[in-house]
Symmetry: C2
Subunit: 575 residues, 2 copies
């Protein structure tokens, strides 16, 4: 490819509104162009990278017996009504009427379509396990797209669905997919990724793992134990709370606290620390039941866990609505509606001499002791893990970090096969609804994640396995006839040798060529100039390390091929 004909331009300036490294570099290096909020066109270099990522994913999916298919983007309402998702998913699902007034939708995932495909075509237990997958455009009506290709509305995704006759079989296959995912990330050149336990969200099901690129720019919060390897998304993480020092129990005492409503105000007023307080947070369920959750003042509520306990989506409630005294809600003498749900976080367990609301305006109660004053209370884990909490497995101090989700795998159970009525015949003559797993990777996000991990101050750094080109050929002084002739010949020879080469055929300054090359991130840069040619060499520089060697022109092709092979081998050696 000649750069003079390559569609796309390179920019020095950081584009308006772009903050994430990958977003900035993809725009600056001419890989993507925004068409609407969270909607991008992929220019030729991005499409090349995307296709290499897709090839690697296909290869790994085929290796574990996957069969590639293609589901429709547009589906009829009826299909999603069978699974119940037409009703249960809110604004994120894009619905519309076709010209005949029929309700249609744009698929965000394809569990329904997958069951539809195997239903009545896979009939017997001995056809299972089977796995079908597709690579296709999906649309999610994200409320807040951000970060270039990291959180978009439209994206290319590999989604896979497997069917099993037993939980053991699903467990075994789930492990195979897990391993395939690890191989995929390694093969596309990622190193700094982990998997964490996660919430299965709108998919339904129980077991779920997310693959995360660990990076400060991530929007997911992660909880890790360096000692035993415990890893979880904050949404599902548990931490042992650091207990307060043992104290002598003091008598209950009601104190005037006036306008001190928040934990900060209360601590300031009473000269105590937040860990000596218990606060309440109020929500309501979908059917308007009040939810009151108590937790130690220095913790924050984990809404996902609370919602799970409530078996309902929840939203922050107006305390007035439930006749509660905002700012003075307390554990003792709490009067609530009959249908109210009240929960107590494990951070309160055994807590002594703490302050909580008195359930009347302007007053709190001091010296509450959980063991003494809370009768028949069940404690639940409903607080977010915080710095200082200990590993629920080994007790070591937990580390909090951030990550970008780069893939997820779920055990779905029989939610879809049951609701849609898919059965296979069993050896005993009976029939069963197959147990499903589903497995996703966003192609664009994987592409951006590589830049997040490897990009540097000068630009993108592509691993050889997914690079849009292997060699960026930058002859300097193309106005010189000798350089021009040798450049044309080398370009031709590189192509004939099967080297993927981007040829900077412009007559521009060395500065422009080398800066563009660093920005675009092709792994090997080859420079020739009147100077190198005088020595009969080419200057070969590795984008990642900056290492430069002068290689005799007569050895150039074989050396380049050797470097390319070495690089690919290096990436693949741990698979």
């Amino acid at each position: 490819m000649k750069i003079s004909k390559l569609v796309g331009e390179r920019y020095k300036e950081t584009p308006n509104g772009a903050q994430l490294k990958s977003h900035i570099l993809l725009l600056r290096a001419g890989y993507i162009k925004q068409v609407s909020t969270g909607i991008f066109s992929m220019l030729p270099p991005a499409q090349r990278v995307s296709q290499k990522i897709q090839s690697i994913i296909r290869d790994e999916m085929n290796k574990i017996g996957g069969q590639e298919v293609l589901f429709p983007v547009v589906m009829p309402r009826e299909l999603w009504e069978m699974s119940g998702r037409y009703q249960s998913i809110q604004d994120e699902l894009l619905r519309f009427k076709d010209r005949n007034g029929h309700d249609m939708l744009l698929g965000m995932t394809h569990e329904e379509a997958a069951v539809h495909m195997v239903m009545n075509t896979v009939k017997s237990h001995d056809e299972l396990p089977c796995m079908i997958y597709q690579i296709q455009t999906k649309y999610r009506d994200e409320a807040r797209p951000r970060g270039g290709l990291i959180r978009v509305r439209e994206f290319l995704m590999k989604d896979a669905y497997s069917f099993h006759t037993s939980q053991e079989d699903l467990d075994a296959y789930y492990k195979k997919v897990y391993d395939a995912y690890v191989r995929i990330y390694r093969r596309i050149g990622l190193k700094n990724f982990i998997s964490v336990k996660s919430d299965s969200g709108i998919m339904g099901g129980k077991v779920a793992d997310e693959f995360m690129l660990v990076t400060d720019s991530g929007e997911d919060r992660l909880v890790l134990c360096d000692k035993c390897g415990y890893k979880a998304n904050m949404e599902v993480a548990s931490g042992r709370k650091s207990p307060n020092e043992k104290e002598e129990e003091k008598p209950l005492e009601e104190v005037f606290t006036g306008n001190a409503k928040t934990i900060d105000e209360l601590c300031h007023y009473l000269h105590i620390t937040p860990d000596k307080t218990v606060k309440a947070v109020c929500y309501e369920t979908e059917d308007a039941r009040p939810v009151i959750a108590f937790l130690r003042g220095d913790y924050e509520i984990n809404e996902k866990k609370l919602a799970k306990l409530c078996k309902s989506e929840i939203k922050v409630a107006d305390t007035d609505k439930f006749d509660l005294v905002a700012g003075n809600i307390g554990l003792l003498n709490l009067t609530v509606q009959e249908d109210a749900l009240v929960f107590y976080d494990t951070s309160i367990k055994g807590l002594e001499n703490f302050v909580t609301g008195a359930n009347k305006a302007d007053f709190h109660v001091k010296n509450v002791c959980a063991d003494r004053d809370l009768e028949e209370v069940t404690f639940d884990d409903i607080a977010l893990v915080k710095e200082g909490d200990c590993c629920p497995v080994c007790g070591e101090k937990l580390t909090l970090t951030r990550g970008i989700e780069i893939g997820n795998i779920f055990q779905l159970g029989t939610k879809y096969t049951k609701t849609m009525g898919m059965k296979v015949s069993m050896p005993d003559g009976g029939a069963m609804e197959p147990i499903m797993g589903c497995y996703g990777i966003g192609i664009g996000r994987a592409l951006a994640s590589i830049i997040e991990e490897k990009g540097d101050s000068k630009g993108i750094v592509w691993p050889m396995t997914v690079a849009p080109w292997q060699v960026h050929f930058c002859p300097l002084r193309l106005d010189d006839e000798n350089v021009s002739a040798v450049a044309d010949e080398l370009y031709r020879k590189m192509q004939e040798a099967g080297i993927e080469v981007l040829f900077d055929d412009r007559v521009v300054s060395a500065g422009v060529k080398l800066t563009d090359s660093e920005l675009m991130g092709v792994p090997i840069r080859v420079v020739i100039s009147p100077k190198t040619m005088a020595n009969g060499t080419a200057e070969v520089t590795m984008r990642e390390t900056g290492e430069t060697n002068f290689i005799p022109l007569q050895n150039l092709l074989s050396e380049l091929k050797a470097i390319i092979e070495d690089e690919i081998e290096e990436i693949n050696k741990n698979i």
Copy 2:
């Protein structure tokens, strides 16, 4: 691939509602499954064929300098308002509001997105010509999807867009694309295809060619001249009308015709033939202007041509609305609204002694003579070509046939670059809006067309270049340990030799295996059985010709590879 694990089932019965050969066979052979009207899932064998077709298309697009990109499926209203298509395209364009209330649409073609991509990134004349293309899912809200993959609502399409600084450059590139299309169709195994001049429809622009698979099952009507090679879609075709015999002019005469309103009734009543009558058809334009078109009674109106003359979409009008006497409208003494548009087809030119309506109830006028009675009338070509008409180029009798559109190429002009304000700098210091071409092929329709052309009474017949597998391996009597052992080894060896093989590993009757094999259409069938094994051979049958040979097992792999190579060579030899 083992057929026992292949997702999909084969059926003996013709599926309900399927009429077209490809539709029936794709359903029966387990290639596709309908999800909604005109919306299908592609099962693994179809996906394999689709990907081979895509590879061939990519290869040919890259050969003519195409750069692969990816545009969004979902686009914002603003982009399509710039080109004017948001307003001009009716129900076929699917519109919706995103969750923030923003007007969005599903792209049916991507001219706007293509201009958006090159705008401000391709700036200078020396970057042109350039061509970008994508392969992507498109959605068109078809009113009447039909014929399986032939006319669908959702489909995978290769669409390409080129940009040029002169008409000559576009002409030259257009020819290159034309040739690439011919190579693509040949490489996917089609023989019976032609190109015809066509209407550019909603794309805008002037020159357009459609590639057509010639087949009786096609919904497009084609007009061909076997002598000079004139070929056109009925929509744009012209034919010289066969003139009536010369007669002596007779005097005008008003005759009572009572309830004879249609041409048939009139001819029956007056004992004349339709070519001795002139009829009127009535339409109205978008802004409700009456349109009255006169043509000889044995011709039908060409609505596309009439609409072009009207410079508006047209719809059939209620004659009452315009104070016309339905069934008695005539050429003479016609009183119409001031803004009415009246057209006369060339079939009336020179016509003598014909009958036309008298513009009053129950009466017609006899012996009208065009040369004598029609003053200052302009004749336009607004009738559909019919059997017996002659070639507009060479005068030979035309042939009418039918076809399926399998691709189209358009010269777009500057419609999109002008409206969207895209310019490139020119050598003289000025700037110009590039001239565009656009080029489409539907992948699914290409796939179905191969079946339309080659499928037979037993099933699909795939050309080797696009076959889902090259060999369908059918060992009979797999309950026999010897057969089973040899079959497993041959399957392994074929895979190792790089042969794409579908292994029928089921213990079912020979009839089931052979029928399934014929239905699925894999080019080479290899059968082993206790009988062939006794002779140390395998039975090798070509799906297309039915030719069978017994090949010694020790030569089987090399023979199969030779057959595969020969078949591919045979298909590609004319490229």
